[in-house]
Every structure is written in C-alpha cells, then in structure tokens.
Symmetry: C2
C-alpha cells in the first residue's frame, strides 16, 4: 500500500510489528491518534517508554514488580512451602483471580521452544533452583501451571528431571472437562485424560 | 484486574484507550514489549511522537501529506475537473488502489454525526467550497464516496444543499450487489436499491 506520508508509513510499520496487529489495523490506529488530541499520543508513548526503561522484576519469583520483592513474595500470609511455576505474568494474574491459591509463584518468562529458539538457559530456571536450595528455604511442593502444549509439556518434563535431586512433591494442574463444558464437545484427548485422572469420591 | 506494577497498569490503560483494543490485548502487547529488545519500544514510541507532532495536511485536499501539497494534488496527470469527496485517508488509499479514478480528492476528516458531536463545522467543508470558488478553479463534478450509513447519507445530503448554488454535476458511488456476491445473501435494502439503480445495456 502506498501511504500518503513517510510519517504514517513509519508508524504503521512499527505498530504492525506488534503481535496480532496487521497493517490495516495499524493504519486505523494511526488515523485515530491523528484525530485525537496530541496529548493522547504523548501519554501513550510516555507510558510505553517508562514501562520499558523502569520495569523491574521480583528478586525471588521473577514476576514484574515495582519493588525489589513483589507483593506476593512480600506477603506474610502466603504459604512459603509451595511454589507454582508459570510461564508469564498473565498466568499469575489468572491464578490470583481465582483466590484459590495461597502459595508463592515462579515466573519462567517463557517455555522451552526449539522452533522459536528458546532453550532452558533463556528461562528463569536457575533462579528457581536457587530458591529451593537457599538456606532457610521451606519449599516442599512444586506445582506446574503450564499450558497443555508441546512446549509446556517439554518444559514440565525438563523441570521434573532438574528437580528430581530434591525431596519435593511435584504436581501439575488438573487437565479435564471445563466446568460448564459439554462432554460431547470436548476433544478426545481431554476427555480421555479426564477419565484416566478421575477423582474418587470419598465415602463418609 | 490487579496488575503487578504501576508501570504495567499505566501502559495497559493507555493502550486500551485505542479503538478495538481491550485490557487483555493491551496486557499481551505490554508483555510482548517487555520481552523484546528495548529498541523495539523506543522505535515505536518515536514513530508515534513524530507522527503526531510532524504530520501535515495538504493545503488543497486536506489529506495527510509530507509536503504543502500532496502527491495527488501536485500531479499534472490528474483531472482537475472532478473532486471525489471522502471521509478519511483510508478511503483515498482504497480508491487509489483500484486505479480507476484520475480526478482529485477532498478529505472531510469525518462525517456529520450528532451522536458523536461532529457537526459540519468540524469537517473540512469550508475548504471544499473554497476550492470550487477560487479563481481559476476547473471543478465540474463532485463525486461522493461516503459510507452508506446514516451519517454518510446525512453528510452527502448536507453537502448537496451547500453545493446547489454552483453549476456542478453531483453524483455518488454506485450501491449494489458486490462483484462475486451471491444474490440470496444480499440484504433487502441493497438488493432493492440495485434494482432501482439498474444499469441499462447499450444496444449496438
């Protein structure tokens, strides 16, 4: 497409590098910013520059944080014997929203993906091992809350081997039919797993 | 949602002000920028700041332009007797891509929309009238290429009245069944209009 100005072209090119945003959407955003007050643009760009230059990561769990330690790691109410291993910040937010988990987290910052060139060294795995080993550590259980994809499973497998030298209980979140999901619409693998991992009712 | 840091929260809030982008998508973009090299973010914000502070508009057609006159208005190959009136730059790009139009454009910068508080004064209507009136002007025909919505029709109606004092041919782009469209899936209004505005085959 031939854009009416170099400035528009540059902005469209930069915006359309973002995941899930194509050239058409980028042009729509550019025209929106040109119509709005200029402070809308400046507030946006300032917040992004601040984000990139000032964001820090929690010394313990590697989650994004304003301080040296994130709020979860700082809290005295959390159970320090359990660490839930997740891929990124969004997973922490999702699990926190359930209000069902009182332990700590560890953010890997990705999953092992040979296709995208992400190996174990790119992830925060050493930091996890350090947390388990450090003097005074109370870690007894590790829960994997990784996506049920090839990459997620590979990462869980790799971590399980790495963690085998410690005396830890290792678990993964349950796979099965979602609450409210209809059996007939479930895929075969999920349905099969949900039968294999069935939950026994306890008799009174 | 409780974000892990103020910086993330600010960035998510600013990004989700853009049309069509919600908080979830904004958070995905934020995490993407945090993963990428920091220059990705700075190139993006610089292009947006430049866009907003340096973009100029063509003195004649009001389209976005790098120079005082846009490339279409500068060209000696364009037919200066026809002006195609459009809502914004995207429409100019779309019509230029057809390579079927050799006249000039006039970008209104919007359409009349009482609900969104856009009146005739907010649009580049005075500039259009000035182009028609100015000494040496050769304008003979005005084509409306506005969206077939309530707002587009209102704008066309308003402009037709304003232009009635000049001796101009006024037309609007054809409404009808799209090429490749199936009759049975066309809505009733479009199909009805396509019968009313039928094209007569010329006998040899």
């Amino acid at each position: 497409m031939e854009y009416p100005s170099k400035l528009v072209e540059n902005a469209v090119n930069e915006i359309s590098r973002l995941p899930g945003i194509g050239k058409k959407t980028a042009l729509r955003l550019v025209l929106h910013l040109l119509k709005e007050d200029e402070n809308t643009t400046y507030a946006l760009t300032e917040s992004l520059n601040d984000l990139r230059s000032k964001t820090r990561y929690c010394r313990e769990c590697q989650n994004i944080s304003d301080a040296d330690l994130c709020q979860v790691c700082q809290s005295h109410r959390r159970d320090r014997s359990i660490i839930c291993v997740v891929e990124d910040t969004r997973d922490v937010l999702a699990i926190e929203n359930t209000a069902q988990y009182q332990g700590l987290y560890h953010v890997l910052g990705g999953v092992i993906s040979p296709i995208e060139g992400v190996g174990p060294a790119e992830l925060n795995i050493e930091q996890l091992l350090r947390r388990i080993k450090e003097p005074g550590a109370q870690v007894k259980e590790i829960i994997f809350a990784l996506s049920p994809t090839m990459e997620g499973d590979t990462t869980a497998f790799y971590l399980t081997k790495k963690l085998s030298e410690f005396n830890l209980e290792i678990s993964t979140i349950a796979r099965g039919i979602p609450i409210g999901g209809e059996l007939e619409y479930a895929d075969e693998i999920t349905l099969g797993r949900s039968i294999l991992s069935r939950t026994t009712y306890h008799r009174d």
